[in-house]
């Protein structure tokens, strides 16, 4: 096993790597953040000074080794620095989802028992104070943004800048102590603790050591030849393991620049200004971008539309082959070159993807059309498969072997095997240490030899050695007649239509499958606008007869394609309805990483599920919703349920049964 591997020199912690970067890349930019309309930047030397001041300040406030420090806020250099400062003090950083409501935060803060909480702004401070009324813990609150904080009781509260100032003042007194703490860090010390989003049950605290993070960062940086010249945009939640690996692990290992946008709303503009060379996004981001490009093309003039259509034809034919280094006829090569000047070049620039050398998508299956669209523009978009417990990487696609239906070959240093029940297992230097305060779960997930069960069912393609994932192992079930039920497989096909944002397929242990569908407000709304269809609300648009007709057509097409696979033909959707509200993490229907929680949905919409199976054509329902500020309300609606034709053998069976 690679566990025994020792790293080069003494680089056994993030603070040690930081010191190396100061020596090696001292004057190169380490962090940038757009504030007040201007990109502010910090070199490695400047960042190291800020981080040290903060660490000294935390020591002065009484932070002790082994304690947990919660960090709640958007991607900002100060928050990455907070994590490193906590590590320097021998404490464990615990980044949390900033959009979590107070109740969710209460569980996590209570579970890790963080005495120090670093908050991005007033909103987060308010939540922590609210939590503090029920949960023991947060003794010191430190906030980054001073706005609105003047009137708070500051007896246990400090601005981050003030903590740093105090740290600078205490440099002489506490410096030696801090140096000793930094020197005490090794490969086995905890690097970070991240809470899993929890598709089922309570979130679990995944403990990752310096070995996990640094070995993974080193291996994968070599795999994609990342170096100190890369630029990334840090915009994904800091509590998510991917952001930690990209913006901390790989960034510190390779010494590249982390750029923080001004805010979530300015992300697209900021990305265009930076032009990242290394980019990660979940499929939903790529889908959203493609949808907005298509919407804007529909609104463009005739000449532009023609150019775009012609350009994309050539791109689809020649783009992916060129990217994979295969031979392409001279004519296509020339046409592609022209297309790059007139169409794809400007388009890539608008999307902020002009300079992307390596792009990854993961987390969910990506639609083949979406994937091919980006590949045909000449963007090296690849897929990877991973999870928090593996420090992200399990498999990834090497350059030149990219396809939309596989997730690639095992990452360097990772061993993968398929269990007897079809479940995927892995073992790697990135494999997590344990679940915090949860020995039972640790034991049931990771066996004595270090093999971890992913919970996903999949298989290796014999010809290529690539891994293909079918579905969550526990979601794969049987229908009443014994045929295989894989909801995700059908849902993904449905979600590839721009009009459909989410779909939930039901059918485990049932006679036939049904689906609940969420429309995509931006795509359907734009269609409504172009067709002069007026609507007052999401609910009204979702219930529009023409929207229903469109969705039915999509479902029918999906049925046709599902019917082609004899193993899964039973998963065709017989009846569907369009939901009156968007599935939302605030209502517990999805995880914070936007994965559907089936159990919650089945329970919450039990009346709808009932109606889908009792043959009724409409159902009246009331649903509780949670607003962003935590207040509750309810939506009332009468939903229509429609039948869809099915194909192949299943169809015949049904007719026979009737």
């Amino acid at each position: 096993m690679t566990d025994q591997q020792t790293p080069v020199g003494e680089l056994q912690s993030i603070p040690a790597l930081l010191a190396r970067n100061v020596a090696r890349f001292g004057q190169r930019p380490a962090y940038r953040e757009k504030e007040y309309g201007i990109w502010q930047s910090w070199t490695w030397a400047e960042a190291a000074e800020e981080i040290r001041a903060l660490a000294l300040g935390l020591l002065a406030l009484g932070l002790k080794p082994g304690e947990h420090v919660a960090i709640i806020g958007r991607n900002r250099p100060a928050h990455y620095w907070s994590m490193m400062a906590a590590q320097m003090c021998g404490a464990v950083p615990v980044p949390l989802y900033q959009d979590a409501v107070a109740e969710e935060m209460a569980y996590v803060l209570g579970h890790c028992g963080a005495r120090f909480v670093i908050c991005g702004d007033q909103e987060q401070v308010d939540k922590v104070l609210e939590v503090g009324q029920t949960v023991e813990g947060a003794e010191q609150i430190i906030y980054t943004d001073k706005r609105g904080m003047r009137k708070y009781d500051h007896s246990h509260m400090n601005a981050l800048a003030d903590v740093q100032a105090e740290g600078r003042a205490a440099a002489q007194r506490l410096g030696p102590q801090l140096d000793a703490l930094i020197a005490g860090l090794d490969y086995d010390s905890t690097c970070v603790m991240l809470y899993t989003s929890g598709t089922t049950g309570k979130p679990k605290g995944v403990v990752l050591s310096n070995r996990n993070i640094i070995e993974t960062a080193k291996n994968t940086a070599e795999f994609d030849r990342l170096d100190h010249r890369e630029e990334i945009v840090a915009y994904l939640p800091m509590a998510w393991v991917g952001d930690f690996i990209f913006s901390m692990g790989q960034a510190v290992w390779s010494g590249f620049t982390v750029n923080c946008p001004e805010g979530a709303h300015t992300m697209m503009t900021d990305m265009r200004e930076i032009g990242p060379t290394y980019f990660f996004a979940p499929p939903r981001v790529f889908e959203g971008q493609l949808t907005s490009v298509m919407i804007r093309m529909e609104d463009a003039g005739r000449v532009k539309r023609w150019l775009f259509r012609r350009g994309m034809e050539i791109a689809r034919r020649a783009g992916p082959a060129l990217l994979d280094g295969k031979s392409v006829p001279l004519g296509d090569r020339l046409a592609y070159g022209l297309g790059r000047i007139f169409v794809f070049g400007p388009l890539k620039n608008t999307l902020g993807l002009s300079r992307v050398r390596v792009g990854y998508t993961a987390g969910e299956a990506i639609g083949p059309e979406i994937f091919d669209f980006y590949r045909s523009l000449g963007i090296n978009l690849k897929q990877l498969y991973g999870q928090t417990e593996a420090s992200v990487f399990i498999t990834q696609q090497p350059d030149g072997q990219v396809r939309s239906d596989t997730v690639g070959v095992p990452s360097p240093g990772v061993e993968v095997r398929i269990g007897e029940n079809g479940e995927v297992y892995y073992r790697s230097p990135g494999t997590f240490v344990e679940y915090f305060k949860n020995a039972d779960s640790t034991a049931s997930t990771k066996d004595a030899q270090g093999w971890v069960a992913t919970g996903d069912a999949g298989f290796f393609e014999e010809a290529t050695g690539h891994l293909r994932i079918i579905d969550r192992a526990k979601d794969v079930g049987r229908m009443a007649d014994g045929s295989m039920f894989a909801p995700k497989y059908v849902e993904n096909k449905l979600k590839f239509y721009p009009n459909i944002l989410e779909a939930v397929v039901i059918g485990n242990g049932r006679e036939y499958c049904t689906a609940m569908i969420n429309i995509d407000l931006s795509a359907v709304g734009n269609w409504a606008e172009r067709n002069n269809i007026s609507y007052g609300s999401y609910q009204e648009l979702a219930a529009h007869p023409q929207v229903y007709a469109t969705v039915r057509a999509h479902v029918e097409e999906v049925n046709r394609s599902v019917a082609e696979d004899p193993m899964l033909a039973g998963c065709q959707v017989h009846r569907f309805l369009v939901l009156h509200k968007e599935l939302d993490p605030d209502d517990g229907e999805m995880t914070r990483t936007r994965k559907v929680r089936r159990a919650v949905i089945n329970e919450k919409f039990a009346d709808l599920v009932g109606a889908l199976y009792d043959g009724s054509s409409s159902i009246y329902t009331e649903t509780e919703v949670t607003y962003e500020d935590g207040r509750k309300g309810s939506i009332k609606a009468t939903l229509r349920i429609e039948d869809v034709p099915v194909f192949g053998q299943t169809a015949q069976q049904k007719v026979a049964a009737e």
């Binding site: 504030e35 007040y36 309309g37 201007i38 706005r147 609105g148 003047r150 009137k151 001004e262 805010g263 709303h265 300015t266 503009t269």
Partner: protein
């Protein structure tokens, strides 16, 4: 400074309100034979949020125009910062430290949000025509300073994402926010808001209320607003003046005003027997 009263009061939420910033004494305003405002007196104190309410046609907007110096009353005196104010041009009023927003949005539709807010800084730009045209010396320095101030306001009102968007393309609620930003760019001591929530939905109203409170809290700006939404007025303001048919029928804290029989009659109507 003979008129400046030094004593203030403390609000229910613990803010210290200072002395008198503006005082209206026996104001009467006529348009020909129509009496829009009849013998009204009240004051606005340093740091408070003061509301003027009343039914349609009560003379609220006329009152705001008197405060802003756009109308000059036939009778009565306007005192600002301890000095009696004579008739003034709008730019003179602005230089005194008074800024306002309008009931019907008055922005430059073709210009970007940033440029619109920059116009609020005009009074702080002194560079000459030549220097401005060449963007050299004083003009460059001034623009940088003013841009920084404007960016801080953009950050404060959370409109970074529309910084470069032409105002004409924005929805109504955001235009209102841009107008507030432009008024704030002048760094006023007294901010006049003419129906800041008119035509907004609940969410936009909540946002706007939050911004009004934080402007008052963060910059210590005194605010005088006209508003129809009673819930908003009662929540936001420290003291309320109630007008009806050009006369003042009530003045006091929201609770006092709510209990005032004359005010109730004006709003609910009263049986004349």
């Amino acid at each position: 400074m003979n008129q400046m009263s030094t004593e203030g009061y403390v609000t229910a939420d613990g803010r210290q309100i200072g002395g008198v910033l503006m005082e209206m004494k026996n104001i009467t305003l006529r348009f020909g034979g129509v009496v829009a405002i009849k013998d009204i007196s009240f004051d606005i104190r340093q740091g408070e949020i003061r509301a003027i309410i009343g039914p349609n046609g009560a003379g609220k907007s006329s009152m705001l125009n008197v405060i802003s110096g756009f109308y000059h009353p036939q009778e009565g005196e306007v005192w600002f910062k301890g000095y009696r104010r004579g008739p003034m041009k709008p730019y003179q009023v602005a230089r005194l430290g008074i800024a306002r927003t309008f009931q019907n949005i008055a922005l430059f539709d073709g210009m970007s949000v940033l440029d619109n807010i920059m116009t609020g800084r005009l009074n702080r730009m002194k560079a000459g025509f030549l220097s401005q045209a060449l963007w050299w010396g004083a003009a460059e320095r001034e623009e940088n300073e003013n841009r920084e101030a404007v960016e801080k306001i953009i950050d404060f009102l959370e409109i970074q994402n529309i910084r470069k968007t032409p105002v004409g393309r924005l929805p109504y609620g955001l235009k209102k926010r841009v107008e507030l930003a432009r008024a704030l760019a002048a760094e006023p001591q007294l901010l006049l808001l003419d129906e800041p929530m008119a035509g907004m939905n609940v969410e936009e109203k909540e946002d706007m209320s939050r911004f009004i409170l934080s402007v008052n809290d963060e910059f210590g700006t005194t605010i005088c607003l006209i508003e129809h939404d009673m819930g908003v007025v009662m929540d936001l303001s420290d003291r309320v003046v109630v007008m009806d048919y050009g006369k003042k029928i009530g003045d006091g804290t929201p609770a006092e005003v709510r209990a005032n029989q004359e005010v109730i009659d004006a709003y609910l109507g009263v049986a004349h027997d």
